[in-house]
Amino acid sequence: MIVVATNLTYFLAWGFLDPRNNYVGRRPPLSEEQVVQLLQPRNLSDTVPLLERWWSWFSAIIFGWDWGVSPVGQSVNDQVAYRMWVSAELVLGATILATVLGIALGVYTASRQYKIADRIGQATSIVTMNINIVVAALGIVLLAIGFNNMVGTTVFFVTGSSSLGVTGFFPIIIDALQHLILPTIALVIIGYAGTHFLQRSLLLDNINADYVRTARAKGLTKAQAIRKHALRTSLIPVATQVAFTIPTVFMGAILTESIFGWNGMGRYFLETIAKNDIHGTVAIAAFGAVLTAIGALLADIAVVVLDPRVRVS
């Protein structure tokens, strides 16, 4: 799947991006020959047939794990190597947090259906779901700056993914968290509501299910019956859904990273597009696919843990 998606992106990218455009309007203008001379060694010249280009790109990945170079000659491998971790940290962290928060809220509000807490929770989620990521991020930046000013020291960093010159295991972790916390909050805010609503409605369906009534008739209290019988069944579809939220979170991360000045994959994506960097774009797509696959795998594991019927068959 990942391979197919990546190759597809390769061809799509060639349909939309043209490295040649980078040299349009240069002063002094470059001649056709010069452009080709610049691009050809980088396997980016459209004078070579597309299939041949594709093959040299693809074979380099298969045989040498070399993802190619950008139009200016930077190695994609180098770029991705460190950005990858930066983004993975953000995307996976935010997804897990948003899921946990969504499920928790879903359970909490469902067991208080139509009461005040449920209504507040629902209203809040409707609002956050519709907030634009840019607005959310900027709002958080402002709040954090306000907070920093108030306590007089920089608790939250609003730009970058780490500070220079920090050493020692714990200082590095603390520093990373200080940077991580704001963009993560931004992503969680826009991302949790979907899970919240799904969990809430599934649990409500299950609370009224006959088997929960049977459980109560056995002598479980309502709370026990819900926790033991309704929750388990309602978690299964939620777990499946989480895999599919990862691409969404990744899209959110693209903008978040730019706002918070992170040097991650998201920002890299914007840059590659702007610079007609086909190899970079494709590598990012592959990264997205890998993240989704990881999500799907995690979801599968969760389903197996939750649903013993799967284990039996």
């Binding site: 088997y211 049977t214 002598g219 479980l220 013993p308």
Partner: protein, 686 residues
Amino acid sequence: MTNALLSVRDLKVSFPSETGTVDAVRGISFDLEAGRTLGIVGESGSGKSVTSLAIMGLLDENVRVSGSITFDGQELLGKSDKQLSAIRGNGLAMIFQDPLSSLTPVFSIGDQLIEALTVHRKLSKRAAWARAVELLETVGLPNPEGRMKSFPHEFSGGMRQRVVIAIAMANKPKLIIADEPTTALDVTIQAQILDLIAKAQSETGAAVIMITHDMGVVAKTADDVLVMYAGKPVEKAPVHELFHRTRMPYSIGLLGAIPRVDKAEKQPLIPVKGNPPLLINLPDACPFATRCPIAIDACHTREPDLVSVDNDEVGEHKTACIRSHEITDGGLIDGHPVFPVPDIPERALAGVPREDRPVTLEVRNLTKTFPLMKGAFLKRKVGEVHAIRGISFDIREGETMAIVGESGCGKTTTLLQIMDLVEQVDGDILLGGTSVADVRGGHAERTLRRDIQIVFQDPMGALDPRMTVADIIAEPLRAIGTKKAGSETRVDELMDLVGLDPTHSNRFPSAFSGGQRQRIGIARALATSPKIVVLDEPVSALDVSIQAGVINLLDELKAKLGLSYLFVAHDLSVVRHIADRVAVMYLGAFVEHGSVDEIFEDPQHPYTQALLSAIPIPDPDVERTRERIVLSGDLASATDQVGGCSFASRCQLFKVLPPEKQARCLGEVPPLTGPENAHRNACHFR
């Protein structure tokens, strides 16, 4: 009164709703002693389930419950969920209607059963397991030890209901409430489950509340009966009193509306006209007054209380009717029946012998197999489901042919094959003499299709809620190209024919009750003036009092229009009433086929005998004294390709046969034998 195990006094339950407060239960009182069974009957919506949930304390918090429920000396109303949970499942147990959904799908049977044990008492793992196995054995689950780790979806409905009963029995309760425990099950399974509940009762000495809409089940199980209507008990009596000295018009109507499987003469059923009232802002009047044929002015001024019937020696017979004392045994008032007996027009063809009537539908060696697929992603064929294994029959003009059998035996598949005019490989379907193999597509096929129409089981689901009734009825007309003007008069005509008011034709289906919707479905089927109407369980979703009206309508239409019906049902009482010929189907094949009276009076195949003996008869004297054959086991699977008689695994006759004869049952498929057109069966030894 003090020795009562359960004492309910003036119980009232009301639900808040958008249109106003729904008074679902409006004052019900009764006492129940240990070891006795109280039957609560009534139509859907009469408050039976709400009463039981109120006793269990399983209603939502926003539901208003008042009155008093004393169980085992404790007042239950007002107790917290936590306090109640100590009683629920311990002293007080419940069996629910739908076994398919009442077990948690993600926990094993064993876990769910053990939970019922350990929630009330400390038990070691080993002891709990042993007790659970013992319980499964008590409820008759084969191989209980191995079944502990199974999940609910691996079980059939009947087996799941056994598990639910095992859970209910787990802590030797003093009271078992069974809310329609067999409604979702087939008759042969119903007989098993009712026996099992009786066994559970005798083993634990428990009292039982048996909630049902089936008068037959009441006659079979109850000691005392409470008839509910519009949230109130309208008649209460010991079971024999209730059936033989019925004093309340509604109960009389309920009993008169039931077709009897043990009565040969074809009297029309007596429907109760109208529908139960909505339970919002009920006026202070007898709630049955609008449907009661003997209502007088006084009935509309005050709601009658439940009081003792004057001439009652036992002193336990109570009714809520101001004219009860005028009613005499047999449902007579002033020498006339309370409910006037409707007359059904005599059929034009009644005098013509069967052989002289034209054949409208002939089916020869109909077969259908489904491939059995496995795997989620790449499906591969792992076997075949033999849904129909070669059946043949014919239907003559003005005749009703019924196919009966348990769920999954292939009834619906048969109908669908016929409706789709599916060309047969080694057989044929002939409509009015035309073979479906000869007409493919275009005009000829459309003409053929006009002659055969279908009415579905579910009156709610079968009608498009966004179409007006006129559109729904005119749909088949449009399909055959009738002009708009022509179809409008036809719609009015049809609505009148099925007993609906033609001025309501621009309303939507939601404005009609279940019985009326089924009439709409019938009108639609009649639109193209078909020769044959196929009915798939047309009345099984309806309450008896409504059902009777629809059955009478079908009878009437057959007489008026000379229709033929192909009727599929699992309710044999209805079949006995409506059919001329019957085929009993088991695992995709007919095991017995013949005229209705032959089959019901002289059932020959062991399966037919068991099926008939499983139906509870709404008469406690008959029901409690007759001999009964209770089949063991569930319906076998249609996947197995059997080399012998497919019924052998459950056959009661097989069990008593000598080994050499048993070998024949297992080794040779019994064909349908016997006089053609009269009475044939597929058993080697009958």
